[in-house]
Amino acid sequence: MNVKKLKESIDVLKDNLDGALLACDIWKTGTGTAIAGYNSNPQATALFDKVTDYMNKSLKTSGFPLLKNYYLLELENNGLVVVLQLQDNYQWGMLVDSTKVNLGLLLNIAVPEARKAFDEAFEG
């Protein structure tokens, strides 16, 4: 993992979301602790690690494949949480202000580019 590129991948996300990104963290599944972030929230990292685990267990029990790409929660008070499922069991959770960015830009530009930047950082 190239740490410098990992931090740059967060900058890519911030730039693409143009002020709408409130916080984000990247962590390894099962650890619940971040390896990089912006306005990091350790509680959120631990929480969404658990939420992902619960979702995967529910999917598995019901015979569906596990989460592959991402999940999105639309929260009260205009918050959007997106949790990307990355390679080698990494996850990238982000809290976005839905009044400052539209869903199309978030899902079709910011998320794919963030994933690409992470992959580059991972390859070193």
Partner: protein, 204 residues
């Protein structure tokens, strides 16, 4: 074994008879093992025909998470009557979604505020049960950590084809399995979701 048996088990005919009534399964009735399907089996998991009648089945769910389990309210007959009263509205919503979403629609069911499954369509009752606690359990986690809870919807992209899209309604959570290759997400969120909410509000 034919596909129908694969999806619903060999005893589906017995279950189909039971499903016309309200069923409360005992613990020992539940399958001890769940068949884990690979990606290529996912399509087979969901029945293909869109003509199947919407069966009225009810199953009380049990919380699974040991950290802070979702509390199951005591069932009241008044609420059951409400469920029955709402059935035509809920059915009409599913029919509307099938018509609007066309090939993007794969399966659906409703979860009541009493954690019962209603109108499971093209998805086996036990499989719906496993998915059905995602919203209440996620909300429990969020509120435990003092985060805002889910407002109108959430969705999970589970593979290249399938999205599990969940809409929070007044007294129900609507779970939809959708094929994202045919889905216009903006149309679902900005047009259909308000339409569904409006329909429920007007008829209530």
């Amino acid at each position: 074994m034919n596909m129908w048996d694969f999806l619903y088990g060999n005893d589906r005919k017995k279950k189909a008879k039971k499903s016309k009534k309200q069923i409360k399964l005992k613990k020992e009735d539940l399958p001890k093992k769940t068949l884990v399907l690979k990606k290529e089996h996912t399509k087979e998991l969901l029945t293909k025909s869109k003509k199947t009648d919407l069966s009225v089945q009810k199953e009380t769910l049990k919380p699974k998470d040991p950290v802070k389990p979702v509390e199951k309210p005591i069932a009241s007959s008044q609420k059951t009557m409400q469920d029955v009263k709402d059935l035509p509205i809920l059915k009409s919503i599913i029919e509307m979604l099938k018509e609007e979403l066309q090939e993007a629609y794969s399966a659906s069911f409703f979860l009541t505020s009493e954690y019962n499954i209603l109108l499971n369509d093209h998805i086996d009752l036990n499989k719906a049960k496993s998915l059905g606690l995602i919203v209440p359990q996620t909300n429990t986690y969020l509120s435990t950590f003092n985060f805002d809870t889910i407002n109108q919807y959430l969705f999970l992209v589970i593979d290249d084809d399938n999205i599990l899209f969940i809409i929070k309604l007044k007294d129900y959570d609507l779970y939809l399995v959708l094929n994202q290759k045919f889905l216009n997400l903006g149309y679902l969120i900005n047009i259909l979701l308000p339409k569904i909410k409006n329909e429920i509000n007007i008829k209530n």
